[in-house]
């Protein structure tokens, strides 16, 4: 009975793990190098597919061929660039450690009220 329950719990956590993975691929933020890669990849892939599509369509004399090749290119590029794949997150951002941050307090902005004659401390 206990072993059955344990197995059940492990299955649930495994499922939860993969759901977390899918969700993280969709909505977690991308690091800076990844963003640069994503942008360049998108531009390069779309332009290449457009060029190939146009030349193929023109040579074959078929407008539909051009549209189909380009549509396939758009779908492929979207799958590659829009979700937050792991290879976009290889250079993760190193935020400052909290204990380190405490040693260097944030400078307070000067309390700027109307310039009245206030006695300086």
């Amino acid at each position: 009975m206990k072993s059955l329950l344990l197995k059940h719990n492990r299955n649930i956590s495994a499922a939860a793990g993969s759901t977390v993975k899918i969700v993280s691929i969709l909505i977690s933020p991308m690091d800076w190098q990844g963003q640069k890669l994503a942008e360049h990849l998108m531009q390069l892939l779309l332009v290449c597919f457009a060029v190939v599509a146009f030349i193929t369509g023109y040579v074959l004399g078929s407008f539909q061929t051009m549209m189909l090749i380009y549509a396939a290119g758009v779908v492929l590029t979207s799958l590659l660039v829009v979700p937050n794949w792991p290879f976009f997150n290889r250079h993760s951002l190193n935020w400052l450690d909290p204990s380190e941050a405490d040693k260097h307090p944030k400078p307070h902005p000067a309390i700027s009220g109307p310039k009245k004659k206030t006695a300086k401390k």
Binding site: L26, I27, P29, M30, G34, Q35, K36, A38, E39, M42, Q43, L46, V47, A50, A53, F54, G57, Y58, L60, G61, S62, F63, M66, Y70, V74, T77, S78, V81, V82, P83, N84
Partner: protein, 167 residues
């Protein structure tokens, strides 16, 4: 590129911009096509030629229209709209154009045309000027592209004449 929504939006915008550019290039490529269409029309018979009760002349013709419009078609052509117009001059109007027949050619395979028909639309004059009239039969066509600007051209065939008396 920092979030899913941003990347999806950038993807969509960029891909549509490039699509617009491709369509513009396809339209420009049409200018490299120099078409050489041919056409021939024969008036086989004047079926009847009468003056209507309201005073206008009307003619019914049987025509034999043959045309080869294959060279008009490019990869960017959706269809060709072709019509035959009778053109003549009267004291009242410098140019009268009456459309006698039209058709749509959907593809290059159908572009070698041969048709034997009476006029699809009535040949009615504004007035009573058609007796003994010399007229031209002009084949006009409009090339409708898949993307881009539509352009039109024509072939003028001269030498047709209506009889002097009503029949």
């Amino acid at each position: 590129m920092h979030s899913f929504g941003y990347r999806a939006n950038a993807m969509l915008t960029f891909s549509i911009t490039i699509l617009a550019l491709m369509c513009a290039m396809a339209s420009v490529s049409d200018n490299f096509n120099s078409p050489s269409p041919t056409s021939e029309v024969q008036v086989l018979n004047i079926n009847w030629f009468q003056k209507k009760p309201d005073g206008d002349d009307e003619v019914s013709l049987t025509l034999n229209i043959s045309a080869n419009l294959e060279s008009l078609f490019t990869w960017n052509t959706k269809q060709v709209f072709v019509f035959l117009a009778a053109e003549y001059q009267t004291p009242k109007n410098a140019l009268n154009q009456v459309s006698l027949w039209d058709g749509i050619i959907p593809s290059k395979e159908h572009a070698k045309y041969w048709i034997h028909t009476t006029n699809k639309y009535r040949f009615i004059d504004q007035g009573s000027n058609l007796r003994g009239k010399n007229f031209n039969l002009t084949l006009h066509w409009h090339v409708m592209p898949k993307t881009g600007k539509m352009f039109a051209d024509k072939i003028v065939m001269t030498g047709f004449r209506l009889p002097q008396a009503y029949r």
